[in-house]
C-alpha cells in the first residue's frame, strides 16, 4: 500500500510498503535489521551495515532538531495547488533524518534552524482515496485528523 504515501507517489511497490499502513494508523516506523540490529529512518528492507535481508519495523518518536529548510515558490508538477510550501530536514533524536512539510502548529515566521520539532503522521482529509504523509510540528503534537498545512 505504499502508493498511499506522498502527495505524489513515484514508488508504489517496495519491500517496506507497510510503512504507509502504519502511517495511516498514526505510527511512524523505522526499520531494524534482524541480524545485527542496525536501525534506519527512513526504513530500508536490506541492511546497510551487514547486508542482511530480514528486517522488522519499530516505532520512532519523530522528535528531532531542524537541520535546514526552504520555502519553495517554483514548484514541480503535482504541487501547483499548494505552492508556496515550506519543507524542512530534521535530525531525528534516535538517528536518521526526515524531510517533510511544516504543519500548521508552526507558523512560518517561527521556523528556525536548530528548533525542536516532531515528525507527525498525517492524512489528506479532503481526498476520497487514502493519501498519507507526515509533517513537522511542535513537539507533543499528536496524530490527529488536523487541518492541512496550507
Amino acid at each position: 500500500m505504499f502508493k498511499w504515501f506522498g502527495k505524489v507517489n513515484y514508488t508504489p511497490y517496495t519491500k517496506v510498503a507497510d510503512f504507509a499502513r502504519h502511517l495511516r494508523d498514526g505510527r511512524l516506523m523505522g526499520s531494524r535489521c534482524k541480524r545485527c540490529g542496525a536501525t534506519s529512518f527512513p526504513p530500508r528492507a536490506d541492511c546497510d551495515a551487514c547486508m542482511h535481508g530480514e528486517f522488522e519495523f519499530f516505532e520512532v518518536s519523530g522528535k528531532g532538531t531542524l537541520h535546514t529548510f526552504t520555502k519553495i515558490v517554483a514548484a514541480p508538477t503535482g504541487f501547483e495547488d499548494v505552492t508556496p510550501y515550506t519543507i524542512g530536514v530534521v535530525d531525528l533524536d534516535g538517528g536518521g533524518k526526515a524531510l517533510a512539510w511544516f504543519g500548521d502548529s508552526i507558523p512560518e515566521q517561527d521556523i528556525s534552524i536548530g528548533m525542536e520539532v516532531q515528525v507527525v503522521p498525517r492524512i489528506f482529509e479532503e481526498l476520497e482515496e487514502i493519501k498519507v504523509y507526515y509533517s513537522l510540528e511542535q513537539p507533543g503534537t499528536t496524530w490527529s485528523k488536523a487541518e492541512q498545512p496550507w
Binding site: 504515501f5 506522498g6 502527495k7 505524489v8 507517489n9 513515484y10 514508488t11 517496495t14 527512513p42 537541520h67 535546514t68 529548510f69 526552504t70 520555502k71 519553495i72 515558490v73 517554483a74 514548484a75 514541480p76 508538477t77 503535482g78 504541487f79 499548494v82 508556496p84 510550501y85 519543507i87 530536514v89 536518521g96 533524518k97 526526515a98 524531510l99 517533510a100 512539510w101 534552524i113 536548530g114 504523509y133
Partner: protein, 384 residues
C-alpha cells in the same frame, strides 16, 4: 601506463539554439576540435558522448551523434551521471587510453534542453531527488541547494550578499565570453529584485537551462606529442559518489563526493590546492560555488563567503574561478558542461583565453557535480 593529453578543443555557442538539433550542435564542437587538433576522422579510434537522455526526443543519443559526425563504424557509447555526464565521458575516454585499448578518442558533451515543453520540464523537475522519501513532498533542484545555503548561512555566517557576490563575479566574466548564454554584467541590487525561487534563492542564484556542445580530443602521450605542439595533460583524475538521498548525508554544508574526488585528483597530480591557478567549478547555484571553494581546499570550511567577497576567486586573487562565466552566465546544457569546463581550462593553460586569460596559468582544475553531489569529477590539468 601512458599519460593522456588533450590535443583538440571545440566549443559551440551556449544558449537557446532553436537553429539546430543536438547532433548538429555536436558537429559544430567536433569540427572545431578536429580543426584545432589538425587531424582527420580516420585518426579517431572511438567517441564517448556525455549527455542526459531524458531531455531529448531521440532515444539512445550516441547512435545519432556518431552517424552525424561520420564516425561509423567506430565504437561509441553514452555516459550519464546527471549534470556530470560530460566529465564521465572524459573519464571513460581517459580510462580507455590509459588501458591501451584506444589511442585517440573524441569526447563530446552535448545537450538540448529546449526540446521539452514547460509541463515536461516541470514533471522532470519533480523527480530530481530521491523519489521514494523526498520527491513526494515537492522537492526541487533549487530547493535542495537552497537548504544547503540555509544551513551554510546558519553554521558559518555566510550572507545573502556572499551568495550574490558569486553571481556578480560570474556574470562579470560571462560578459567577456562570446560562447556564453548571458553576456551582461549584473548588480546585487538587480539580483535582489528578481523573483523568488526557493528561499534564499532568487532567479539570479540559479543557472539557466541551455542548449550546447563542447568537444575535447584526447590522445595517448606518444600520439599527443606527434599530433600537437601544445598538449595539455590530464594529470589528476578524481571521481566519487555520495548518497542519492540527502537524508543519508552527515551534513548539508558541503559535498563529500567533491572532497573525495579532489583528494584523489590532487594525489594523482602530486599537487595541492594552493598550486591551482585557474578553476572551473560547478556553480549550478550560488551556494554551490562557495561550497566548491571549501570542498576543493581553496579556503577553509565556512570561509567560502568571505573568499569571494574579498575577490580571491577573481583574476588576480588566490585562484581564478569560473572566469568563463561558469554555469551561471555561460549556461548549463547539462551533458555538455563537464566537457566545456575542460575546454576552458585547457584554453587557459595554452594561453588562449583572450581578455579573460589568467597570468601564468600552468595548473588548472575542473570540478563537475552531478545532481545534488551524488557524483563528482575533479580533473587537474597541467602543461609541459
Amino acid at each position: 601506463m601512458t599519460r593522456v593529453g588533450i590535443i583538440g578543443l571545440g566549443h559551440g555557442v551556449f544558449g537557446r539554439r532553436s537553429d539546430a538539433t543536438v547532433q548538429e550542435l555536436a558537429f559544430e564542437a567536433f569540427r572545431a576540435a578536429m580543426e584545432d587538433a589538425g587531424i582527420e576522422r580516420d585518426a579517431v579510434d572511438a567517441s564517448v558522448i556525455g549527455s542526459v537522455p531524458e531531455y531529448h526526443k531521440q532515444r539512445s543519443l550516441a547512435g545519432v551523434v556518431q552517424e552525424y559526425l561520420g564516425l561509423v563504424p567506430k565504437p561509441t557509447w553514452l555516459t550519464e551521471v546527471a549534470c556530470a555526464s560530460g566529465s564521465a565521458a572524459m573519464r571513460t575516454a581517459w580510462m580507455a587510453i590509459k588501458a591501451g585499448v584506444h589511442d585517440v578518442v573524441a569526447v563530446i558533451g552535448c545537450q538540448k534542453m529546449t526540446e521539452l515543453s514547460t509541463p515536461e520540464i516541470l514533471a522532470l523537475m519533480g523527480r530530481v531527488g530521491e523519489v521514494q522519501w523526498e520527491s513526494g513532498f515537492g522537492t526541487t533542484f533549487p530547493g535542495y541547494y537552497a537548504m544547503f545555503a540555509k544551513r551554510h548561512m546558519h553554521e558559518f555566517g555566510t550572507t545573502r550578499d556572499h551568495l550574490l557576490d558569486v553571481a556578480v563575479k560570474n556574470h562579470h566574466y560571462g560578459a567577456m565570453n562570446p560562447l556564453a548564454l548571458f553576456r551582461k554584467e549584473i548588480t546585487a541590487e538587480k539580483a535582489k529584485a528578481s523573483e523568488d525561487v526557493a528561499t534564499p534563492f532568487q532567479v539570479y542564484d540559479c543557472c539557466a537551462n541551455a542548449d550546447g556542445a563542447a568537444c575535447v580530443i584526447l590522445a595517448s602521450e606518444d600520439r599527443a606529442r606527434e599530433i600537437s605542439s601544445k598538449p595539455v595533460w590530464l594529470s589528476g583524475m578524481g571521481c566519487a559518489s555520495a548518497t542519492m538521498s540527502v537524508l543519508r548525508r552527515p551534513n548539508l554544508v558541503g559535498l563529500p563526493s567533491a572532497e573525495h574526488a579532489a583528494a584523489q585528483a590532487y594525489a594523482m597530480a602530486g599537487i595541492g590546492p594552493a598550486d591551482v591557478k585557474v578553476a572551473d567549478v560547478h556553480d549550478c547555484f550560488t551556494i554551490a560555488e562557495i561550497m566548491a571553494y571549501e570542498d576543493l581546499g581553496f579556503c577553509e570550511r565556512g570561509e567560502g563567503g568571505p573568499f569571494v567577497a574579498e575577490k580571491q576567486s577573481y583574476i588576480g586573487g588566490k585562484v581564478a574561478v569560473n572566469v568563463d562565466g561558469g554555469l551561471k552566465a555561460k549556461g548549463h546544457p547539462i551533458g555538455a558542461t563537464g566537457v566545456s569546463m575542460t575546454y576552458e581550462i585547457a584554453k587557459q593553460l595554452r594561453g588562449e583565453a583572450g581578455e579573460r586569460q589568467v597570468p601564468d596559468a600552468d595548473v588548472g582544475l575542473t570540478h563537475n557535480v552531478g545532481g545534488i553531489g551524488q557524483y563528482c569529477f575533479v580533473q587537474v590539468l597541467t602543461r609541459d
